[in-house]
Amino acid sequence: MNMAYVAATGAAHPGPALPGSLQRNRKLGQWLRFADHEHVDVFSGKVELGQGILTALAQIVAEELDLRIDQVRMHAAGTDTSPDEAVTSGSLSVQESGTALRWAAAETRHLFLQAAAAALHCAPAALRVEAGEFLHADGRSASYWTLAAQVPLDREASGAIAPRDSSDYRIVGQPAARLDLPSKVFGLPSFIHDMVLPGMLHARMLRPPAPAARLVSADAAAAGLAPDQARLVRDGSLLAVVAASQFLASRAAAFAAPRLVWGSSPATLLPDEQALPEWIRRQPAVATLVAASGEWPDAAAPPARVFSASYSRPYLAHASIAPSCALARFDGGRLNVWTHSQGIYNQRSDLALAFGMAQEDITVRHVESAGCYGHNGADDAAYDAAWLARAMPGQPVRVQWSRADELAWAPFGPAALVELQAQVDSSGNVQAWRHSVRGNGHSNRPGRAATPALLGSWHTADPFPPLLALNAPLAAGGGAERNALPCYDFPVWQVHSHRLLSMPLRTSALRALGAHANVFAAESFMDELAEAAGRDPLEYRLAHCSDPRARAVLNDAAGRAGWPGSHLAEGCGMGIGFARYKNTGAWCAVVAEIEAGVDVVVRRLTIAVDVGTVINPDGVRNQIEGGAIQACSWTLKEAVRFDSERVTSDSWDSYPVLRFSEVPAVDVGIVGGAGPALGAGEASLGPTAAAIGNAVARALGVRVRALPITSERIRQLLA
């Protein structure tokens, strides 16, 4: 539900086509302002999630306006101040916001250059622009700030002034230090958790013990709370304690929780976590032929060989290091909310739905939190804070989720089952390929449906219905079917999706969406086909691949890794994985080197990535490496655990993630670098998962088709 989602699902905007998010936020002044005498103030609708986007956008603006990067002041998004860019997701911020800012800044510079030339009675060509000053050779000058009153930016962009050529870049393409890092390294207030509103109260939510449980009575809990220390706020099964300090709120929550009386409905028992693929296969689903090419071979002309295999992944948690947090204040009809949501406008529209308010009466502002990898608990916490603020007008309220709720109540990345079939010729080359993905939808974000997608609103006495997760259209990157389309030149192929109509655990967008399971499956299957044909996995891929940029990343990663790794010791192995993210984004190949002892240890990841034009090379490396390490964690360790009623993986003990001693060396090479800028945030996850699985298979001769790849699974297969 980034702008690509909006464009793929919404009505066309009247007026000439403008680049990126300028299309829907057409005034220059929505993006850039010269309010003081030192800076340009930049307003993007995209938000900092720890990915470094504001630094990359600042580079783009500094480049086009001929400013130093320290003259650029980035502002956090707010519904009252920034352009509406829907959601910060899908590795699209550089394309959507970066493109808009590039064109807005180029046109702004052009307008100021004209004004400077008029003021200095010279031709525009007689002026050079440095650090915001328009300098004439005779020593006279003007600046953005001296001219600001004469150049109103409250005008639509024309789209007629082209940004500068990439060969002239001096800031874009160079490593830039993150603007937000110093304050974090020195422990200054940086996050939403650090925000203080005068007189604010602290709240703790009291969630049901299981998704299906409903509150019968809170009387015993309420009776034991001294009203001056904490009060209970309840609407149906939605419940919180509010107190003057975090300590009192936590203590009251600990007192109240065991005194609540919950009932349960047996209708929505959770599936058997040990048999998820079978459960997924049995569920009612919406079947779609996502895409196909060529005519499926006639059964009368049988191929040389037919292979099929199934792969799966479990539910995955976002497992952000910070618990979700939000603040809100309700003043006589006006609601102010501070949130770390990825989509402040979408959040606002769902809050309006939930409370029956007009959107104009709600202001939502973004404040940073810990790293965000998709639709986590941020939006739900914002609802919680807003609900409590409405219950006590004039009183600012701060809500902070518990670690247990963060791991058990935030949406999960859906479990998935991928079934593959290939018909191959006598040399093992693929003639026909069928990819079928089954699972819940990957999109359950606010701002899309006729009722709110906010957890708390489903628990009130007069609740809204829980929403079923959907999949975004393929034109917007798809959901479950993301990267289900082959990245190779298969003569005939089909992609099918089966979106489940039952959703016992709430699912929504987690980094890379379907690309993780799909690339793990397809690239594992490619290795299995290569092995059956007695061919080298790299050679086998290249034989099916004419795209020069795909070949370049495959060859680069393999070359630097020392492919095929025949020098490695017994029990060690090298595996390769590749995908072009979303089939339209960055090309990424990963070679994993693993050692299989008591546990599988990933020693090294050698990665080659082509993200087109690079804005901040250090930012690209950081995102690609971070994604690869997170994928290592998913691949080796992670699975949401649950019994028949409730999620049980609600601590770092029961939901372990990769630790320092388990993190591999990572070597990221950026190749290519031409053409449009593509996102870097999600490209490495699928290829990394596949490379690890393939390395395990080559080291041990055991093919693990169900994630995570644990020593238990390997032992079962070896037995």
Binding site: P182, F186, F247, N622, A628
Partner: protein, 159 residues
């Protein structure tokens, strides 16, 4: 349940008297009473390291440490390591190596690393990884953090 009183301790080398419930978690005293927001809350169970502070030179989880347990002790938070004007070598190294993505775990990483360098000024990579094993990072900045700690150690050692 109510055991209000005064606890005296040293925070970042300054003597502080905190009037609060003796069971108050140290993190709440630091963040909410002393307005030192650099110590971040992560889990409340001592399992992630985001809230680590130095207590007498050892990295401890301030979310699980009640105020009474640090009476008379010397606490160092991330703010006490250094400042923008006078950065600790570790803080400078984290900036030089761009050793973060979201930066939420950074304070705890710096504290664990500072404790390590106190007891072992010249650690090797495996020793750095072992010292940071209790600190979780979800963004995948681990290798940059290790490089930053090694850089800080090398810099301090060569001086």
């Amino acid at each position: 349940m109510n055991s209000g009183g005064t606890v005296a301790l040293q925070v970042n080398q300054a003597p502080r008297r905190i009037e609060a419930d003796a069971d108050l978690p140290l993190i709440d005293a630091l963040r909410d009473l002393l307005d030192l927001k650099g110590t971040r809350f992560g889990c409340g169970a001592g399992q992630c390291g985001a809230c680590f502070v130095l207590v007498g030179g050892h990295a401890m989880a301030s979310c699980e440490t009640p105020l009474w347990a640090v009476a008379g002790k010397s606490i160092t938070t991330v703010e006490g390591l250094g400042s923008p004007g006078a950065p600790h070598p570790l803080q400078q190294a984290f900036i030089d190596e761009q050793a973060a993505q979201c930066g939420y775990c950074t304070s705890g990483m710096l504290i664990s690393a500072a404790a390590l360098l106190r007891r072992n000024p010249c650690p090797d990579e495996a020793e750095v990884r072992a010292a940071l094993e209790r600190n979780l990072c979800r963004c995948g900045s681990h290798n940059r953090i290790v490089r930053a700690v090694l850089r800080a150690a090398a810099g301090s050692h060569s001086r």
